[in-house]
């Protein structure tokens, strides 16, 4: 049992010695204030353990006893300084802690010198004061770490909790040993407390230098959620700025980093979180001096990867904090994979932004052009109408032939301009319907009448006996039908008949415009209703048109809660059908 006790005590001392050496080595590789404080705390703990072994071998002495107590107190004080290094304490609090340290050191030295031979009660009280001081030094950080870990990314959370837990166990061992006194001096109790203290070593070790496997395991829990969020971010962010801002937040979470940034291809800082522009500049200029991706910086590890954007090479970087795992190959892989997604997202957002600008310019151009065209057209149209009416003087035979052609062409031009204006209005969301109850047969009849005159073509109109009531903006519906009718005439150049049929069934009113013209190939159907979408074939290429008519017609139909469908066979003809919801008239009473 004595041997087992000695082995346990020596093992624990060895464990703390190794822990001290490991932290010192970590600190040597990645320096930082916080890390230095933790290293010192653990080194002083290791010193305490070693002095204990030395005393075992060469016998105890007052000086060694005093040194043990002072080192022990200092180790606790450095735990508090470690906490203050990244969760700053106020100056008065630090001063008070330093005062407690000095007083406790005096008390501790007095305990083993002046009061060495005093009554048990006095030494116990003095020992209690020392334990209380150590409890204050480590207890406050233990609680603070635990509370602060709650909102951190999983890796940081796990590390902070490991440290908090490790020191809790150590504190418990110290307190129990001090309070237990002689009751705990039997070998079994010693072995138990030593083994418990030994168990703390790996827990504290992983808190500052977790192996890659452990880091990956810690991350696993939130990785799925993270991946989904990143996917959303990349696919749906409206602008690059928004995307970059969200992306740095996720980069921090992904790597458990303290700060992250994204720099655009032109070198401009797109977004940063937990790091300011100066910090980013410092990191990037330091990076230029060093070819390698991962570099050391005085405040912790930094990782920067390139973003191969369509405009050039940008950069994304993360900066570690006191609880960030030092970035290893696992983190580099993570960040590089993430960088690919962010690059794709930024490029997509760039395309979306450009498209939006082009769309806006197009609409503005359409708007301006059409309004500016109305002015001159007014004059041309006015004079042509006067010319035709003979108001400008008598015309000869050739003039009398030319005037109606001019008039018709000016009318066509006017219709096209009206279409352009209507399209621009539609795209701006400025188009307002003025719906009223109407008989679809009346509207169709008016549209057919004017198409007959304009197109100089016979059009057969078929209507049911009962009125077909709809709640529509009559002028707009007439525009839709005029469009379908003029297309039917235009694309059946052989003079074949055009028919227009109004029907109602199942609560849907329909107007079908049928021609026996050139028809539309199946593969061309999808572009029919797009803005400026025109089917270009040898038969149609010479026909005038803006490609706006059907786009407008369908949009107007949809604004009415309706639709336009098409059924076509090449060389046989087409049928375009306007569908509108039937108007459910309120029941009349009396």
């Amino acid at each position: 049992v004595i041997l087992a006790e000695r082995i346990a005590v020596n093992l624990t001392a060895l464990g703390f010695l190794l822990l001290g050496i490991a932290t010192a080595a970590e600190w040597y590789r990645h320096r930082g204030r916080a890390r230095a404080m933790l290293t010192l705390a653990l080194i002083f703990l290791a010193v305490v353990a070693i002095i204990g072994r030395v005393q075992d071998m060469i016998g105890t002495s007052t000086a060694l006893d005093a040194l043990t107590i002072v080192c022990f107190l200092i180790s606790g004080f450095f735990v508090l300084l470690f906490r203050a290094a990244f969760l700053p304490l106020s100056r008065p609090a630090l001063r008070a802690a330093a005062a407690v340290l000095v007083i406790s050191c005096v008390v501790g030295v007095a305990d083993v010198t002046v009061f060495a031979n005093s009554a048990q009660a006095i030494t116990s009280i003095l020992a209690l004061e020392l334990v209380a001081a150590w409890t204050i030094f480590t207890g406050e950080p233990i609680v603070r770490f635990w509370l602060d870990s709650r909102n951190l990314p999983s890796v940081q959370k796990a590390r902070m909790r490991a440290l908090s837990f490790g020191f809790t166990v150590l504190l418990a061992v110290v307190v129990v040993s001090a309070l237990g006194g002689t009751a705990l001096q039997n070998p079994a109790a010693v072995i138990a407390t030593q083994l418990i203290a030994l168990a703390v070593v790996p827990v504290v070790y992983v808190s500052f230098a977790p192996p890659a496997l452990l880091r990956r395991m810690w991350r696993l829990g939130e990785e799925v959620e993270l991946r989904r969020a990143i996917q959303d971010l990349v696919n749906f962010s409206p602008t690059r700025k928004v995307l970059a801002e969200k992306a740095v937040g996720w980069a921090n979470r992904l790597l458990g980093a303290d700060g992250a940034f994204i720099v655009d291809a032109d070198g401009a800082l797109l977004a940063s979180s937990g790091i300011d522009a100066d910090g980013v500049d410092r990191i990037l200029s330091a990076r230029e001096e060093q070819a390698d991706g991962a570099i050391n910086e005085d405040r912790g590890a930094v990782l920067v990867v390139a973003l191969h954007l369509s405009d050039g090479v940008g950069a994304m970087g993360v900066k570690g904090g006191p609880f960030t795992p030092l970035f290893g190959s696992d983190e580099i892989n993570q960040l590089e994979g993430y960088a690919v997604a962010v690059t794709a997202g930024l490029d997509r957002a760039r395309v979306t932004e450009r498209l939006a600008i082009i769309e806006k310019n197009k609409t503005q151009f359409l708007n301006l052009a059409s309004h500016e065209l109305r002015g001159p057209l007014t004059v041309v149209r006015g004079y042509v109408s006067m010319l035709e009416a003979g108001l400008l003087g008598p015309l000869n035979d050739r003039g009398r032939k030319a005037a109606p052609v001019m008039s018709a062409k000016v009318g066509e031009m006017n219709a096209l301009i009206e279409q352009m204006i209507e399209a621009a209005r539609l795209e701006d969301g400025r188009l307002m319907l003025r719906p009223a109850e109407a008989d679809l047969c009346h509207i169709a009849s008016a549209a057919v009448d004017s198409a007959r005159v304009d197109g100089m073509r016979e059009i057969v109109l078929e209507c049911p006996d009962q009125p077909v009531l709809v709640q529509v903006d009559s002028e707009r519906v007439q525009t839709i039908l005029a469009n379908l009718l003029s297309n039917a005439i235009k694309y059946s150049p052989n003079g074949s008949p055009v028919s227009c049929e109004v029907t109602i069934r199942g609560g849907v009113a329909r107007v079908s415009v049928k021609d026996s013209g050139i028809g539309i190939a199946k593969e061309d159907l999808p572009i029919l209703f797009t803005r400026f979408g025109r089917v270009s074939t040898p038969q149609t290429v010479h026909l005038p048109g803006t490609g706006l008519g059907l786009f407008l017609a369908r949009q107007l139909a949809r604004l009415h809660g309706g639709e336009i469908t098409v059924d076509s066979v090449p060389e046989r003809g087409s049928t375009f059908t306007l569908h509108l919801p039937q108007f459910a008239a309120p029941t009349l009473t009396g």
């Binding site: 309004h371 109305r374 002015g375 057209l377 007014t378 004059v379 149209r381 006015g382 004079y383 109408s385 006067m386 009416a389 003979g390 108001l391 400008l392 006017n414 301009i417 009206e418 204006i421 209005r425 400025r430 307002m432 003025r434």
Partner: protein
């Protein structure tokens, strides 16, 4: 279709004030309107329009919206203040936005027409009707 001179006789007593800064458009309307026998005065700015209004008491005003000194809407608003019994105003504009049309009508215009959609002959035909309509509208409150 020949425009008969009968119209000329009938319209002789009607005086039209056309407030329009585009010379080509103004000349064109004048040609049609004078052909139809109306008396036409053209003002190229809002200020000129007001001066003519005070001096010549036109029977109807044809008003453009885009003028060098102030907008047609401002003129409409001022007309109501300075000439409570002003003649009917018909807005002739190249802006066809429903919001503009609503605003024009709300400010008291008797009609709002988009110039490129109507021929001078159509305007000429409608003028007596507009004057009559305005007369009825003004007479009613007095009764």
């Amino acid at each position: 279709v020949e425009v008969t001179s009968i119209g000329s006789v009938r319209h002789q007593s009607i005086h039209i004030l056309l407030i329009e800064d585009d010379g080509a458009i103004a000349d064109m309307y004048r040609l049609q309107l004078e052909y139809d026998g109306y008396q036409v005065t053209i003002a190229t700015t809002g200020e000129n329009g007001f001066a003519t209004m005070a001096a010549a008491h036109p029977d109807i005003v044809l008003l453009d919206l885009l003028l060098p000194d102030r907008s047609g809407f401002e003129i409409m608003a001022d007309l109501g203040k300075e000439f409570p019994n002003h003649p009917p105003v018909v807005i002739l504009s190249n802006y066809g936005e429903p919001t503009m049309i609503d605003k024009g009508l709300a400010l008291g215009a008797i009609e709002y027409l988009v110039k490129s959609r109507v021929t001078p002959a159509l305007i000429s035909q409608k003028i007596p009707g507009w004057i009559e309509q305005a007369g009825r509208g003004q007479a009613e409150p007095d009764d």
